[in-house]
Symmetry: C2
Subunit: 207 residues, 2 copies
């Protein structure tokens, strides 16, 4: 049969179908059969490409986080090249890069944080490594601020925890933003306003 429309490759279609279904119904409620049906492929192809549902999830998460850390590292390398940035400016600039990336991948970010919250063993196993790596990047940046005598607190670990919590908030609690604050968490307006708040938070942590 000749495809009449230009279509994505089966592997990409499977990944997108899985992400959509994981997002709407959660990982545990999604079956391989549903993914295959949505992607328009034979279920056997999912075994072939990904060795099943868990493999598919792992590949989605690896891809998401590899790209995320690339963005952060590339960003830090650029900042280094410029040379004249202070630790404070580097932190702000990295934070903004993180937020933009997570915001651009709204569906995936939201899915991950929701699954983490409902205490899924599977996600937790995979995530601990990535969250540890993300923590490391930010603790390093904040330690630099502390060394420079610019940080107002000595508890760098707690500030990092709070900073990352602030970064995740729009993906963790969109319902609260929407229903209690009447702001659409997926809008450009919110993004802009929230980015200013992230900056405000960092500013306030510093002398």
């Amino acid at each position: 049969m000749v495809e009449s429309r230009v279509q994505k490759k089966p592997k990409e279609r499977i990944k997108q179908a899985a992400l959509d279904l994981f997002y709407y119904q959660g990982f545990h409620s999604t079956t391989v059969r549903q993914i295959a049906q949505r992607a328009g492929v034979n279920p056997a192809m999912i075994s072939y490409y990904f060795k099943g549902k868990r493999g598919l999830l792992e590949q989605l998460m690896v891809q998401f986080y590899e790209e995320y850390f690339n963005v952060i590292e590339q960003h830090q390398a650029d900042d280094m090249d410029q040379g004249q940035l202070t630790p404070y400016q580097r932190l702000l600039s990295t934070l903004s890069a993180s937020f933009n990336y997570l915001f651009e991948h709204y569906q995936m970010t939201r899915f991950i944080y929701r699954e983490l919250t409902i205490d899924s063993t599977l996600i937790r196993e995979i995530m601990t490594v990535y969250l540890g790596k993300e923590k490391y990047y930010y603790i390093t940046l904040l330690e630099e601020l502390k060394q420079a005598g610019t940080l107002r607190s000595n508890d760098v670990e707690m500030i990092t925890l709070q900073l990352l919590n602030t970064l995740y908030m729009p993906f963790l609690q969109p319902q609260m933003i929407r229903k209690v604050y009447y702001i659409e968490p997926h809008s450009d307006e919110f993004k802009q306003r929230y980015l200013e708040q992230l900056n405000f938070f960092v500013e306030n942590c510093c002398r």
Copy 2:
């Protein structure tokens, strides 16, 4: 039959059993039969006292939030009586009362925020009212700070959002605290350290 041990009344036993099961398996995965079995009562008693699972949840949440708002209001009344507290001290003192209450009701708080995150329509309906009320208390306190010219930002709504997000964090992301930061989120040590961070946040928002 004569009970050999002193036992709680059936209504209280049902509430505790429901909370335990909602906490461990979520609201949707818990059946009336399971609650009855755990409480050691006939399932018909749950209909009689609570008109079913939803009524039981509503009663648990009403009780939790009525008590929560009583704590906040009583606290604010006491502060008013003292007379000499600044808006800044009132905010700190209310926040600490909130955090202590949520921490003392760890299981219930954790259950509510988890359900909110997984986008349960039921919880959302009930919660919007309570979260709106909580927001109102804090926006009022922060507006007083703004009026007094003490607040560093004009976006009181965003600061409130961030402040409450910081308040909820230990209940929303205990796994991250435990697995990535290696701190036990249910310990007194963490409570103390986190309370200091909450104060630090408020302090930083002010001139």
